[in-house]
């Protein structure tokens, strides 16, 4: 049975309860702050240790001789010339395939396609593709590009494999960049009589360049560190020559033979050195890793600058 007294709480008692609850809430708040700070420091610390470690054993090895020499059995004479040239050529192939395809697909999905079950399905699957393990892209490229299309274990096959790998990232980045443009801007263009393509070409693409470029560079810095798909399609680990030059001294001045040349790349060269015995090869690996890391950080820096630059005139 309830009595009247059950419903009456004396003011002082009530206040004390509230105060106790508030101090408990404050202490949970404080503790979360501490835990958050700790996890931030922990994560950044691991990264710093990694970088310092690489620098400690590799920094001394980075010099012109190292950058301009082919790999060698003698660790002190070995270098990463064929590796970084291979990496750059791969990136050229990857970018020239993944950027136009990815941006076009992103524009289509965001601006042209009707929003229905099919496009939802496609959207989910693009997100899924971004999560497929990279070695599977390697297997796909081995079957399709190396054997079916007979591109061989070439720069072209490797670049295409990496392009497939980063294509979903470029598509998603393009869509997100387009989505930040308010509908009112599209309607303003359409109301003046623009076609969809004119709205895209005159407005949406220029206004989303920063976002798209950032996404593209992040995709490239993902591709540049990949080794699994390249090993799967059969990139070589010891290459003492460069692919044929793309620019010739006499007509026709251009050559695409380099596309079909065997290649190696920085992560593969590094992997090769790590698996060798001997202190010296380890520091070669660390130096190659450091160099790769610097390229990646440099690319991310460029991405940030690009975004700042492209966005400076744009506010909604």
């Amino acid at each position: 049975m309830l009595s009247v007294g059950d419903f009456i709480v004396l003011p002082s008692q009530n206040l004390r309860k509230q105060e106790a609850r508030a101090s408990r809430r404050r202490s949970i708040d404080r503790w979360f702050g501490r835990i958050g700070l700790l996890s931030t420091i922990g994560t950044l610390g691991v990264l710093a240790i990694l970088l310092l470690n690489l620098a400690a054993s590799g920094l001394a090895r980075i010099d012109w001789q190292f950058l301009l020499s082919f790999p060698s059995r003698r660790a002190a004479e070995a270098g990463i010339l064929s590796a970084w040239v291979g990496t750059i050529l791969l990136m050229i192939v990857t970018a020239s395939v993944a950027v136009p395809l990815g941006v076009a697909a992103g524009i289509y999905l965001e601006e042209y396609a009707a929003k229905n079950k099919w496009t939802d399905f496609i959207e989910i699957n693009i997100a899924n593709l971004a999560g497929v393990p990279s070695i599977l892209y390697g297997l796909m490229a081995l079957g399709l590009f190396v054997y079916q299309f007979r591109f061989g274990q070439s720069v072209l096959a490797g670049g295409l494999a990496l392009a497939c790998l980063v294509l979903p990232i470029v598509i998603v980045a393009t869509r997100e960049a387009l989505r930040t443009i308010p509908a009112a801007i599209r309607e303003a263009a359409f109301a003046l009589g623009a076609t969809r393509w004119q709205a895209v070409w005159h407005h949406l693409l220029p206004y989303s360049t920063g976002g798209i470029a950032t996404g593209v560079i992040l995709a490239m810095s993902r591709a540049i560190g990949e080794s699994a798909p390249l090993i799967t399609i059969g990139a070589l680990t010891f290459i003492a020559f460069l692919p044929p030059a793309p620019i010739l001294a006499q007509a026709p001045f251009m050559s695409f033979d380099w596309l079909f040349s065997p290649f190696t790349a920085l992560p593969i060269q590094m992997f090769n050195w790590v698996s060798r015995p001997g202190e010296e090869f380890q520091s070669n690996a660390a130096a190659a890793g450091l160099f790769l890391m610097l390229i990646t950080l440099g690319m991310n820096g460029v991405a940030i600058l690009l975004r700042k630059h492209a966005q400076r005139n744009i506010k909604w």
């Binding site: 009707a114 929003k115 308010p182 009112a184 801007i185 599209r186 309607e187 303003a188 263009a189 359409f190 109301a191 003046l192 009589g193 623009a194 076609t195 004119q198 005159h202 407005h203 206004y207 005139n313 744009i314 506010k315």
Partner: protein, 274 residues
């Protein structure tokens, strides 16, 4: 100009009881609009007179903005929409909802100004020039001339003539909206549609836009959707009152506000609902 109206507004009388027969610019006949299975406009018929300001009023969701956006086929941009009936643009009487009518051609004849100022993140000059460029004008001298004309007609020229190539976003909200008006009129459209153009502006900027609209009707037919009854009263010649997707009453603004024919109109205008 084109003196021969194809259709006359019949039965309209001004305060003195004299029958007014203005030239009709946009003749809306039995217009229904469906969003999916949802019917948003029900059999609206309305003759918009040329060189006048026609206001559309009514509570939220009554279909006034939907009606406005039918006139430049903005609904075509989104899937699942369907029009029934006809909207004829005079002189000529082309049905802009007719089969084979390209929405892009329609939009080049109907300028539109939106609720919030929405200039492109480009220069003031490029904002005004964009519609002209779309219509194929690319000689610098022609563009300069038309941009200046449009900016003068939107009472913005003196404020921006020294900084035409600066970003439009550096202008104030009211200036941005006048820039959007300049952008809409630069191509000499037949009709300019205003969708609550002052709802995001302060009273001073609002009164400038209102003056501009009254001034504009010498050159162009204006249709304005507004939430603000006083605004409709101040600037419009004719008012259409809509409710639940239907046109309840349409007539000369003074008469509508002083002596509405329908009880719903009276209730809305006197503030009993809405």
């Amino acid at each position: 100009m084109n003196p021969i109206p194809a259709v006359q507004v019949s039965g309209e009388k001004d305060i003195a009881g004299v029958e007014v027969k203005p030239e009709v610019k946009v003749e809306i006949q039995n217009l229904s609009f469906f969003y999916g299975r949802n019917q948003v406009l029900r059999n609206v018929s309305l003759d918009v007179p040329a060189y006048q300001v026609t206001a559309m009023i009514g509570p939220s969701g009554c279909g006034k903005t939907t009606l406005l956006r039918c006139l430049n086929r903005m609904h075509d941009l989104y899937p699942g929409n369907r029009y029934e009936g006809s909207v004829r643009l005079h002189p000529g009487g082309t049905d802009i909802l007719g089969p084979g009518m390209d929405p892009i051609r329609v939009r080049m004849r109907f300028g539109m100004v939106f609720q919030k100022p929405n200039p492109f993140p480009k220069s003031i000059y490029e904002n005004v020039a964009y519609g002209l460029r779309l219509q194929g004008m690319n000689k610098r001298r022609d563009l300069d001339e038309r941009v200046e004309k449009a900016l003068r007609e939107s009472a913005l020229w003196d404020e921006v003539k020294s900084r035409l190539h600066q970003l439009a976003h550096n202008l104030s909200g009211g200036q941005q909206q006048r820039l959007c008006i300049a952008r809409a009129i630069a191509t000499d459209p037949d009709v300019v549609l205003f969708d609550e153009p002052t709802s995001a502006l302060d009273p001073i900027a609002t009164s400038k836009i209102e003056e501009l609209i009254v001034e504009m009707k010498k050159r162009v037919t204006v249709i304005i959707v507004t939430h603000n009854l006083q605004q409709a009263g101040r600037i419009s010649d004719r008012t259409a009152f809509m409710y639940l997707g239907e046109l309840i009453e349409f007539g000369e603004t003074n008469r509508m506000f002083t002596n509405p024919a329908k009880p719903q109109t009276e209730d809305y205008i006197s503030g009993r609902f809405g």
